[in-house]
Amino acid sequence: NLEDKLSEILKKVRGHGTLSEDNIKEALRDVRLSLLEADVHFTVVKDFINAVKERAVGQEVKASLTPTQDFIRIVSEELTKIMGGRAAELDLKKKPPVIILMMGLQGSGKTTTTGKLALRLKGQGKKPLVVPADVQRPAAIDQLKTVAGQVGVDCYDTKPGMKAPDIAKLALAQADRQGQDVVLVDTAGRLAIDLELMEELREVKGILNPHYTLLVVDAMTGQDAVNVATEFKNQIGIDGVVMTKLDGDARGGAALSVRAVTGAPIYFAGIGEKMEALEVFYPDRIAQRILG
């Protein structure tokens, strides 16, 4: 668990018996290095280390009979503060249809995740409609239609040449008529600095008025995670996050960065290319992984 992981990092410090200001410095340096190597953002790490340092050099540890344990507890508590204590769940007990909007950078895994999420919701007794609203990537509509066929859910019949806001309007109207109770809208990958595409996304969101606007983030994202999360949050608003490609060996520090900057829950983890490869995101597991 997290405590064991931290103990490992602090092994060299333990040998000193009591925790002095000097070896707290050394322990903090090791934790800092570990977080940076895991791709946690430079500033997020700085704030985190300062928060830990403040508590560790304070009375909390000085007067303690078990300083190393306290230090470990402080780091673990501060990490849990950011990552969240337990898994978050989507609340689908809303007046149907529940509308979910998927957004994120190019190649992050939105289309694949839309299919996975539709399959999961179908397994929970829902009747999903997936909506291909990416009209710019070659064969993006085909991709979602194929995926919808693989998982056995309805797919809005987007035609090439349609515009994303119109697709959103028409798909909602169709869900109304056909009675689907969850509508999942897949959008084109976009840079947060692309004014035109961010405006399009705002327009689509305005039409859909989604219950959940989910940012899809690749687990191997580096320092840029902070820029992406901040911009999407400020310009569009983020209700939740899905982290993909966690079946790789990226440490996933982007999760900590995104959480620190947006406070949005990370609902799911993509753990493979197949449609079944989606699981609930466990914050404590990723915290351990980030620490290495």
Binding site: Q106, V147, G222, N227
Partner: protein, 278 residues
């Protein structure tokens, strides 16, 4: 900020460390670079921020400016194998390359070697249409090896200059998929001796330190020749390429700066380093 007691001013070290780390150069490489400055510069120079920054830029430029000859198109055909993890921009980069070479009057054949992912073949076909070149594909769920074999044979028969093979995205941690990649390489050599003449690993500029692991593992599996770094039109700097060039000596051939057919550039070390420091 670490051990720069005598030498670099602590404020400058903090500033440079932040700059280097936030561009994904990585803390270890950043520390190594800053340490190295102590050997390169005199005590006075170390106190001058402008001199320090200039030397740092030169150091980084020296690492990433790897000599690489342009792709030789005299192998009847030259076979280019494109690999990388999921979603980095392989198929799009192939489309851009196909267009470039076709515009230069070269005959290009594309192999739709991703027979796994939904609509992967259709995606490459659209790029083939945009580029104005032939795409060889197999039946649904075909063995990628057979599609690639067939494409190279066709390229030979039609006296094509270049055959670019698309492959499915794969995480380097998946042993069976890495084995498949080795097999594809053997099949290419069977179809045309000496193939693949170039193995291009595509990396996404938004990727953090994991890109180094990717480069190591793909290189170990199939001997990567060069790199393409995509999505540099975003806010990510792609600094992880510094550690990769330093450790593995792989040259960056191309950079992707957008989603359109012309959004491909040859790697320019000066521009790359300049962007890191702005």
């Amino acid at each position: 900020a670490v051990i720069f007691g005598r030498g670099l001013d602590e404020g400058l070290v903090d500033e440079l460390e932040a700059l280097l780390v936030t561009s994904d150069i990585g803390i270890r490489t950043a520390e190594k670079l800053l340490e190295g400055l102590k050997q390169d510069l005199s005590k006075q120079e170390l106190k001058d921020p402008a001199a320090v920054k200039k030397r740092l830029e030169e150091k980084i430029r020296g690492i990433v400016a790897q000599k690489v000859a342009p792709l030789a198109l005299d192998k009847g055909p030259t076979v280019l194998m494109v690999i990388g993890v999921n979603g980095v921009g392989k198929t799009t980069t192939i489309g851009k390359l196909a267009a470039r070479y076709t515009q230069e009057g070269k005959k290009v054949v594309l192999a739709a070697g991703d027979t796994f992912r939904a609509a992967a073949v259709q995606q490459l076909e659209i790029w083939g249409e945009r580029a104005g070149c032939v795409v060889v594909k197999g039946p649904n769920e075909a063995d990628p090896a057979s599609v690639i074999f067939e494409a190279i044979q066709k390229a030979k028969a039609e006296k094509a200059d270049l055959c670019i093979c698309d492959t499915a995205g794969r995480l380097h941690t998946k042993v069976n998929l890495m084995e498949e990649l080795k097999k594809l390489k053997r099949v290419m050599n069977k179809a045309h001796e000496g193939a693949p003449h170039e193995v291009l690993l595509v990396l996404d500029a938004t990727t953090g330190q994991n890109a180094i692991t990717q480069a190591r593992q793909f290189k170990e599996a199939v001997e990567v020749s060069s790199l393409a770094l995509t999505k540099l039109d975003g806010t990510a700097k792609g600094g992880v390429v510094v550690a990769i060039c330093d450790e593995l000596g792989l040259p960056v051939r191309y950079i992707g700066i957008g989603e359109k057919v012309d959004d491909l550039r040859d790697f320019n070390a000066d521009e790359f380093v300049g962007a890191l420091f702005e």
